[in-house]
Structure formats: structure tokens, C-alpha cells
Assembly symmetry: C2
Amino acid sequence: MEKIHVIKIGGNVIDHPEKLRSFLADFSHLKGMKILVHGGGKIATEMSKTLGIVPQMVDGRRITDDETLKVVTMIYAGLINKNIVAQLQTLHCNAIGLCGADGNLIPAQKRIKGDIDYGWVGDPIEIKEPHPLLTALLKENTVPVFPAITHDQQGHLLNTNADTIAATLAIRLASSFETHLVYCFEKKGVLKDVNDENSVIHFIDPHHFQQLKQEHIIFEGMIPKLENAFDAIHKGVKTVRIGLADDLLQLNQGENFGTCLKPLA
Amino acid sequence: MEKIHVIKIGGNVIDHPEKLRSFLADFSHLKGMKILVHGGGKIATEMSKTLGIVPQMVDGRRITDDETLKVVTMIYAGLINKNIVAQLQTLHCNAIGLCGADGNLIPAQKRIKGDIDYGWVGDPIEIKEPHPLLTALLKENTVPVFPAITHDQQGHLLNTNADTIAATLAIRLASSFETHLVYCFEKKGVLKDVNDENSVIHFIDPHHFQQLKQEHIIFEGMIPKLENAFDAIHKGVKTVRIGLADDLLQLNQGENFGTCLKPLA
């Protein structure tokens, strides 16, 4: 099977033009088929403030109301996505910006859990096969770039977690490609000692993961992140890596990039 | 040659959610291959005002400065484009939203004329063949939807006239498809008597166009519009039609839609 990388970058890269430029240069040099998924960063929050939109909270959860949906659509799918595409094009990377509504690439469901209506927030529907249009685009040597926007197939766009979009795409691709999912975040990887940047744990399998949780080496926010990552592996994704955006090109050298999650040997 | 329609809608449709919904329903029923190009309408102007952006004018011409470019990118390529795509998807029309930077579909040049720097305004570069990616997307039965944004291939997005984008796409497609360019505007067509909506001139060829100009039946803003339309015909576009968005489905019946510009018989 042909190899593909699905790379996700978050606000820590998006929010700094210099970091973003440097990341995109590296990304353009990453060999083989690839997809980029990007979060939104602070620009949307700042725009909401400027427009006087008061964040709606229910039970401590932020709700995506009509006005917030407009802002994230404008900023994620418009401003950030198209600027990333234009920059990648200058780097000879044939980027094409697509949200989940485009070609119905990522159908999703509006999230309603118990009594909480999260507003225009979406959870992608799980589908096993890759979307034929996405496969066609990859075969045309384009590099799809996704913002964190999907749709409900009933005419509404939905604000959707970028990590989830990356995992959803990777899981669908896994039946046709050797799929590697890469989360760029603010640390070099999962750390044995949270205060020591050089204590990266290079490999974790599901068994090892249970141990690390019991020993409280992995805790809090990292647990759901890694659980989702192992879910993707369980569904056929070959590896999930978590590491520093700056280290991306280590993937070309076959060197260790951050922490690599793998199925049981 | 297979037939394709390139349809352009302007602010008069975009600005009215009901009109837009009704137009998109009609558009989804238009038979055969098709592309939609949309302008921006008043939403961008209103957003600029809300954000306190003062329009920059040079010699009576509006300049697209950095802040204005951000607004049109957000509104045209983000908010309007993705909402049109989501609506078309519910109408079983497999829309895919693409700006000129995506896949380098519409490379353009920053406009500098004489002493006037128009800011981030672009004029598309003339290319004879259709973009292979666009052809591939059409063959995948997708319906490309373009906002009025291109790029300079140097990392900058460019604010670009939607009429020009529609003509540029049509001219490129004309070498491979029987291409029909359709401008939806606020009247039923080119009128013999500007006060009589029923005085539509159904056909105009270049010879007839000269006569109508001499007789001052066509004047002012219509002259450059029609000159650009005849330029497209000169470059291989089979017909250019100008008419009311409401009448779009007349194209399926082979009936007259507004004014049809044709080459000399």
C-alpha cells in the first residue's frame, strides 16, 4: 500500500506567522502523499471580541451560536485556509483547501449530548472507505488542506475539532493507504518527566499505555488525546505520532519523530 | 464536445438569503456540467464598516489594502462560499468550493496601471487550456464554486472581479468543452428600452453590437460588460448570456434566456 501522512497543526503554529511559514516550508518538503489539517488559533477568538460577540457558555462548555459559527467559518475556512494554500503554492506544493462540506468530504452530525445542545458543533460520521473524491485528488498530486469545519448534510456548517477531523480522515484512508497520523503540538512528544523536554517516550503500545496511566506518567488532557490516537490505530491507522512541528522533517529521514503510538506487536 | 455552463451570480442574489436559496435550487436542476462563480455583495462592505476599516481611495478608485483583503478573503472564500457549498450539497449538487489559489486554478497578476497601485487586486493570467485539475473535478461529477479571490503565485491572495473570473474560466474551458457563459444580473437582459423590462434584445452579434452602440441603445456600464463578453466569444466561448437569475432554468428548455451574445453567423 502507498504511504500517506495526515498532519495536524494547532493554534501554537497558526498564531505565529513566522512559525507557520517555517512549518509550511518543512511540510512542503515532506515526501509522498500528504494532507494538512489546521486548527484556528486565537484569530477567531479575537475577531469574536472585536465584533462584540459574547461567548455563550452552558455548564462550563462553550456553545457555537449562529454568530460564532459565522466567525469560525470566515476565519478557519476563509482567511487561514486560503492563506495557507497560497503560501504552499509558492513552495511548489499543490495545495487545495477543502472543508468537510466541499464534495461532502466530511459529513458530520450536530452534537447533542443529554441535555446539552452545543450549538453548531459537529462530530464526523464514521465511514470506513476513503471518499473517492479525496482519493482522486491525491492521485492528481494535490495536497488537501482542511480547516476545522464540516457540515450536517442539511445545509448547516459545523465547527469541528481539528484533531477529530485528522483522525477521521486517517481512519477512512487506512483501508486504502499505509496511513500515518501526525499531531504537531507544543512539546517534543509525550514526556516521562513533564519538566524535562528531553524525556520523550519514543514508543507506546496499548499495553505500555495502561502502565503509563497507572503510574500517573500520563494524566489529564493527554489521556483522551492518546485514547483517541489508539482508537485510530485500532481502526487501521498504522502509526500515530505526537511531536514538535519543528521536527516534522525527521519523518523523511525515518528518524524518531516525537512519540510514536503503535499497535501491539 | 461536451457542454458546460459557467454561471455567475452577483450581489443582488447573494445579499438576499431567500433569493439565494431559490437560485441555488434552480442551479442544482440545471442539466449537465456546470460551474458557479459568485461575487461578494454587501456583507463584506458591512463587515469592513463594523471593523472600522476606512475605505482607501486613490483617484476615485477603491484600493484593496491589507485589511480589506482579509475581509474579502474571509467573507467571499469563507462565509459565502462554504454556505453556498453546504446548501448545494443538500440539493444533491456535489459542490466543491475553490478559490483561484486552490490547486493554482486561477493564477493572476497584481494590478498596477500607470501610477495607480490598486492594492491586492488581481487580473487573471490568460491561459488557453483548461486546468487539468478542473477537468478532473468535472469528470468526478463535482460542481466547482468559485469566490472572487485569486492569487499571485507569490503567496498573496488577490481580490478579483467575479465577472472576469467567470470569463477566464469559460475561455480556458472553451478549447475542450462547448462552453456557455451566463451572467445573472438584475434585469431580464439587454433592454431596447431601459424603462421596459419586456424589451429584451434576444440576440446580439458583434455587427449588431456596433449598431446598438451607435444608436445609444447600449451605453455606459453595459458597454465594457458586453465588450468583455464578445472578447470571450472571440476566444472560443460558444455563447454568453445575460439575464435574470430567476429565469435560469429556461436554459434546460432550450428557451431564450435573457440576451444571448453570439459570434457572427
